[in-house]
Amino acid sequence: MTGTIPTPTTFITENCAMPFCKGCGHTHVLRKLNDALMKLQIPPSKVNLVTDIGCIGLADALFETPHTVHTTHGRSTAFATGIELADSVLSDSKLKTVVLIGDGGAMIGLLHLVNAALLNVDVTVLLCNNFLFGMTGGQHSAFSPMEFITPTTPDGNIIPPIDMCRVMLDARAEFVARKLATDKDLGDVLAEAIQHPGFSLVEIVELCTEHATTKNELTGNAIRSVIEEQGQEFGILTNEKNRAEFGVLYADKNPRDQAFSASQKDDGLIPQFESKLKHQVGIVIAGSAGERVQSAAKKLCEAAVMSRLHCTQKNDNPVTQGSGFSLAEVILSPHDIFYTGIETPDAVIVVSEDGLNELYEKHVFDRLKPTTMLLIDSSLPKPHTDANIIEYPFRKEYGGAKAALKAIELYVQQSGLFPVEAFQTS
């Protein structure tokens, strides 16, 4: 799949009419972005602009040659991250993705910005900060300065603005800059950010001439001091290459084309025993977390399969997983198993108090029939039930960790479902 790679003469559509208000910073930003891309001479097919919602999100329609992906509000960086993850790990890692997002979207997508920075994917975010939501009527944003007057802060903003550059630094971003849309060197800084291997963010502070200037004494020249009064800095705040890109690190850990099938553990079970089982049986095994109840039940299933039976196993435990009861429900059958629940168990195995209490909770003992085999540890109080009770000191003889295993082994012996060797082999 080869083709002639053209030398780009422009990325932005020639002579395109900018849809923005007179004096809006977005026009500067997009022209400077074009300058940066021209400077880098990246083939247009290797440039991808991902736009967010809001005025800056109109940018995709203005670029004729690069790929454009216009996304949902605040999520642009997440989509961009997905594209770059795939490009860096599954493809040739040559794509350069630039996100255009406003201050409103940046706060919605804070998580995505932080995660992209932590991952260090090759995404460049142009955060166009004009202090407000321009497209929807000038409402204040998380970037509005203190005392900023907007329709939603008519008496002045009382919430301090976020310093997103500092957040990005804390998220280990290695290229972070804050510039004015009118800075003459903006194009160069953008080129540097795009060229940076890995994540980069440039916050571009700009003026919304429609909404920011009517009630606030704000001019293009004044916005520098507004930012600085908030304790935020301008310039390239960091430019380092200490961390490898995500794709490089991932490829190191997970080299491509390992002998995939060979390394795949074949855990197939070979039938080598015969079972006398004619009907489906349901077995409930109850004990305590950490005492290998569910893994013992799995061995029962493996033994059953090796004895040409079908099986299902359901496990249950408290959400904390490491404490309280541990339960397994096993169905064994010579035929296909349809319904995977157990209404009336054919066998119940209880090896600890946690397990006993849980079975009371589930009213299991009310449902037992005279033919049910109830194997219970000798240390436990015997429940009132019709079942055929067999008690044995599993815990005393084998300890908690082996009680379930040994109880199941005894059940296999007593029931004669299949040779006990099958269970010992599994």
Partner: protein, 381 residues
């Protein structure tokens, strides 16, 4: 020792969805842990990382699906897995995938809702939320396995449909299908072919290829795909757009694109229907079932027939597009249709009951635990 090797393994439905995805050529998985879907995430990490393909954790479900959309736009088959609470977060991005005609597979392992609900309790309560999550109610294909084998096979199929139709596709299971371990005979697996998306040849004229991102002639045509990063320029957008991907308001071509999004699925609905029919031509009772409840229903049919009752079964492996033709063809002499599902209002029953013009439609509904064969049998006369 002269044993015939029979490849029987112990597998959960979740594991089989992961294996099916890899079989289908899925090379990208982004995941966020949630019970009862985490088994898919874990399995995909094991299976994909071993091959050098990408399986990655995301910081939330919104990111998980957005990463998948991104990877698919870049040209790779992608999947994520979640449960109801995660699905709720993903809905915006599901709509984006639908609007941008981005192939995508989402495994939705249901648990008891609403809200955080019950993490370790199964349910069939997200049927409507899954299907009707788009503004406009566009049809999202939903496949609904009830066994580990079906989990594998329907996942392969889900990828084929997603790729060929350029649309998000959902595999809808629940905790009991996803987390129950069963003996699986791999020799019974159907060797399905997994389709790839139909792509443009990446041969540009004049250096840089031009093609409309959403080009089609007939409404039901599927636009040829071009990856972001390829030689043909992509103009993708989640806003209402014309065939070129340009944001437009109410012009004829844009409305045509919106019609096309539904028409490309609707026109193929008979081909997208998979059912298992177990018909007794004399039966006056038909049990329609799907998902975990189909297992109890099949057992109920078995018991009913042993008792000499005439009963038919129709097990739906695809819920949407609604397999109308297959349902209508199963009605025959049926006077009574019984549908068991683990939700209180009879969600799927409400979608199909209009098809039963003369039959009585009865729901067996319960939440909190699996519906038993006995509970279904009560409704079999």
């Amino acid at each position: 020792m002269n044993h015939t090797y029979v490849p029987i393994k112990l597998r959960t439905g979740n594991q089989m969805i992961a294996e099916g995805a890899v079989k289908a050529g899925c090379r990208f998985f982004a995941g966020y842990p949630i019970t009862p879907a985490s088994g898919i995430y874990k399995s995909m990490i094991e299976l994909l990382q071993r091959k050098g393909d990408l399986a990655i954790s995301s910081p939330d479900e919104i990111s998980a699906l957005a990463y998948c959309v991104g990877a698919s736009l870049r040209g790779y088959k992608a999947m994520t897995a979640t449960s109801g609470p995660g699905w709720a977060l993903m809905i915006e991005t599901v709509q984006y995938a639908l609007m941008t005609e981005t192939p995508l597979v989402i495994a939705m392992v249901q648990r008891l809702g609403p809200s955080t609900g019950g993490a370790t309790q199964g349910a069939q309560g997200d049927v409507l939320l899954t299907e009707f999550c788009t503004s406009g109610g566009y049809t999202i294909p939903v496949l609904c396995p009830s066994t580990p084998l079906e989990c594998y096979e329907l996942t392969v199929l889900a990828f084929s449909w997603a790729e060929l139709l350029r649309t998000p596709v959902v595999i809808l299971t629940d905790k009991e299908v996803g987390m129950t371990t069963e003996s699986v005979n791999y020799e019974q697996l159907q060797l399905l072919h997994a389709a790839d998306r139909i792509s443009h040849l990446q041969k540009p004229t004049n250096g840089h290829g031009k093609a409309k991102t959403y080009e089609f002639t007939r409404l039901s045509d599927i636009p040829k795909f071009a990856p972001v990063g390829g030689l043909i320029k992509v103009t993708a957008t989640g806003s209402a757009h014309n065939k070129s991907g340009e944001l437009k308001k109410n012009d004829a071509e844009t409305l045509e694109v919106l019609h096309h999004l539904e028409e490309k699925i609707r026109l193929r609905k008979d081909g997208l229907a998979i059912v298992k029919r177990d018909v007794d031509p004399e039966a006056e009772t038909l049990l329609i079932s799907y998902g975990i409840t189909a297992r109890a229903t099949e057992e109920a049919i078995h018991i009913a027939r042993k008792q000499g009752k005439k009963v038919s079964g129709l097990h739906l492996l695809t819920l949407f597009p609604v397999p109308e033709k297959q349902i209508l063809n199963s009605l025959g002499k049926v006077k009574r249709v019984v549908i068991a599902e683990e939700n209180l209002s009879g969600q799927y029953r409400s979608v199909i009951s209009h098809l039963m013009k003369t039959q009585e439609v009865i729901g067996v509904n319960k939440i909190g635990s699996m519906i038993t064969p006995q509970e279904i049998l009560k409704e079999v006369l």
